[in-house]
Symmetry: C2
Subunit: 486 residues, 2 copies
């Protein structure tokens, strides 16, 4: 015994000794009532200072694994090792697969992270549309944290409110007002990013007609969550300037929908920004057919050129028919799981209770860091830098696509990705397989389509790909596509 003790760095020695002894007690290598080696003995055996052993024994007592007998030494607490698969233990196994709900089975089936190709080292991957972490300004995040901690550290680390961190809520209210939103009668709820916000809204939305209308293609996570909530999904064709209004009207004439899910700016996956005119026309239709809108504002901030375009919730003026889901994930730090729902205050009142039942509240630390970072004007500084870099990569990717890829059409007005459509009949899954063999991967577009089409499309995320890899990767994709076309 005591031969297999090994020290690791970065952890107090006495705790490593305690853990080691606990382990022996748990495994019943040291029995209840048994005397532990004297601190001097153990210090020699484990080759650590005697003080460490003394502290370790104290800590074992604190945890109820040992006790001291005055003048005699330390002993293992009776029953401390109990419960561990001994003879008494009630050890039986069941087949969990049989017990899994349909919801969980579907969640797994629709989990593309478990289906996608894993990028081996050296692969040129266009699959990610996450921000380029080398652009992160850690120093300001660090300062924001230290600032909030010094102001109200105790408060930040204790329970917060389901609705969110008040200073951040107030900041975001003003932030949205500056996007042209009429805030009267509206309220705001902080969530663990867009995904939780969307999930909570769908949970709170009663199923009257059991169907949702959206763009086709659209954000696959949204499609997944709509399916998980049992909604039928009807996708409407995208045109160069956004959703096809004529087709939308025909669809609305055909049947009723519980709501519309729309991504008006830097639409995922097409990267299209809906024109102001179309936004007005769209909102008029929604009004005529009384269909509420869930607006996904996920990376509105990634504008590289052109005038500011107001979100749909601004076009709705004093109305309450738009539920806006905001997030800085794509623009700032996805690691900070903070998003928000801006909507009618009565709806938010109910969403707050759903949120509380789901996760009590969003990390106060994340919220307070984001708040302090935004208040200090760091978003503007960061966006200035990020937009320049992403715009450069965007233009490089665009140029490479035009030079190398035999596409039928190409879209993307900004954001962190481009969307490529090949001639009918071309299959991007075959293209992906062929490119993967050459160390290049991208996202086959079919996963974004609501009607099983899109086999001739693909999405290229460029935010995390180095310039030379963008050139080489796209050249390979283009060449391979040509070969497949022959």
């Amino acid at each position: 015994m005591f031969k297999d003790f090994k020290l690791i760095a970065g952890r107090p020695v006495y705790i490593q000794v305690k853990d080691y002894m606990k382990h022996l007690i748990i495994k019943s290598a040291l029995q209840g009532g048994q005397k532990l080696p004297s601190t001097r003995e153990l210090s020699t055996l484990l080759k650590v200072s005697r003080n460490s052993i003394i502290s370790a024994y104290e800590s074992l007592e604190d945890d109820g694994f040992a006790y001291t007998v005055q003048g005699q030494g330390s002993y293992v607490s009776p029953g401390a090792g109990a419960g561990h698969g001994g003879p008494e233990a009630a050890s039986w196994s069941m087949d969990w697969k049989e017990r899994i709900s349909g919801h969980a089975l579907l969640a797994e089936e629709l989990d593309i992270m478990k289906r996608g190709i894993r990028a081996e080292k050296g692969t040129i991957s266009f699959t990610s549309i996450a921000p380029d972490e080398s652009l992160f300004d850690l120093e300001h995040v660090r300062r924001a944290f230290l600032e909030r901690m010094s102001v109200e550290g105790n408060v930040l680390l204790n329970y917060g409110y389901a609705k969110g961190y008040k200073p951040l809520i107030d900041y975001l209210r003003q932030y949205m007002e500056h996007k042209g939103v009429d805030m009267r009668g509206k309220d705001l709820l902080i969530t663990n990013g867009f995904t939780e916000g969307f999930d909570i809204v769908l949970t709170a939305l009663g199923k009257r007609h059991g169907a949702v209308i959206c763009e086709n293609p659209t954000h696959h996570t949204a499609v997944k969550n709509l399916k998980l909530h049992g909604f039928g999904i009807h996708g409407v064709t995208m045109e160069r300037d956004g959703i096809h209004l004529g087709e939308l009207k025909r669809a609305l004439d055909e049947r009723e929908y519980d709501c519309a899910y729309l991504v008006p700016s830097y639409h995922n996956p097409t990267g299209i920004v809906m024109s102001p005119e179309k936004r007005q026309g769209l909102m008029k239709l929604m009004q005529d057919y009384k269909v509420p809108v869930i607006e996904d504002g996920f990376n509105e901030e990634l504008r590289y050129s052109g005038a500011h375009v107001a979100p749909l919730i601004a076009a709705a003026g004093g109305g309450n028919s738009v539920v806006y889901l905001g997030s800085f994930s794509k623009v700032l730090f996805p690691g900070l799981r903070v998003g928000w729902v801006l909507a009618d205050q009565e709806l938010i009142y109910y969403l707050e209770s759903v949120k509380r039942a789901r996760s009590i509240h969003t990390s106060t630390l994340d919220q307070s860091i984001l708040y302090q970072y935004l208040l200090g004007g760091n978003l503007e500084k960061y966006l200035k830098k990020a937009r320049l870099e992403y715009k450069r990569k965007y233009e490089l990717t665009l140029a490479c696509c035009k030079e190398h890829i035999p596409y039928a059409s190409l879209s993307g007005d900004g954001g962190l990705h481009l969307f490529v459509t090949f001639a009918e009949g071309f299959n991007t899954r075959e293209l992906l397989a062929a490119c993967h063999g050459q160390g290049v991967i991208f996202t086959a577009g079919d996963i974004f389509f609501t009607d099983g089409t899109g086999q001739n499309t693909l999405r290229l995320g460029f935010s995390r790909v180095a310039d030379e890899d963008i050139r080489r990767g796209i050249e390979i994709i283009g060449r391979t596509a040509r070969q497949l076309m022959r």
Copy 2:
């Protein structure tokens, strides 16, 4: 115009100027195409440096709210103000209440935060069982953050994994192994605290019989979530050393249950720690009737005396029938929304997909801070201090109850609260109303009961109440109870 501009502290002046101008543009006080005041003019009007105005105009351009004409100055972008409730706007309102789902209505109805008494300033409140934030050691949290940020800040701020932050997962695996858990065939998922973990497990658990068995009384959040998931709930009476095994057996003979939800240590609300013998007997029953167990280990660490008691999942040995939900919320920092689910690896595989669909992943910053804090041995240091303080308050509260409160029985082996039961027929809601009038509040116990009983019980959370308030508050509760008994 420009008269109502006011500067606030802590935010760059140029951004405040930009926000102000944005506001005027949005409100159409400045029209599209209109020339903005020269930087010199505006600097005089707003009484801020000209450089701030210059930066503000640049930033307005970056955001697409303005454009420059060489040699002439800055102009408002056409349409930048559009979308805001103008004539074109499609502004209509709907009655969201009509659209709310039954789930959301129930979540609101069961939301005790919206039902409970708000404690006015100066009220002595025994309602909280959150930790005492004055015990938090902010310095080590600060260091843990800075340490992780310097090691891998970029990684922490970008997307993480649904399963959790690898170093924390590995740490917790070992942590649970040291509680006597046989980790073979088991896996671990990080969640946004206990609540999300429980919600995800219930989501993944197929409804075969539609019923769950638990202790009566039990954790009200658990009751709420079980109801929200549509499970019938059968509560089994608590004895001084835990759940009544005879009654449990009779209940299991009567019908089948999908699972059991149990809080074996510092049970909420009774504060009872189930005896090792009872744990064995309980697990034997669960095995005989093949009922999987969801174990809530929520504040196991708050042991003030006695030997270490292994969790049920340890008693299950190599079996996979126990799903353990862990959290440091009550012990460490509730603000860090981090909990974990330890269970059969196949089950975790599905829970991971449900988690991803719910919230992508838990805040990486929270996870990494917690990991670094734990690795550094700060939990042990903190617990040493916290246990001393809580034990002191626990004993004070116990003494005060014995001196003043005419209870029928009293329970609480540790943790942050005591549970008081009065004679049958006594009503703690009346007591609460009477005490509230005297500036003292507590939690009426009926909310913890699964069968509508418990009107004669109450929970006293003492963790955040000052010593003299504990004395005064309990004296008032006792006196008032006596008066009501006459």
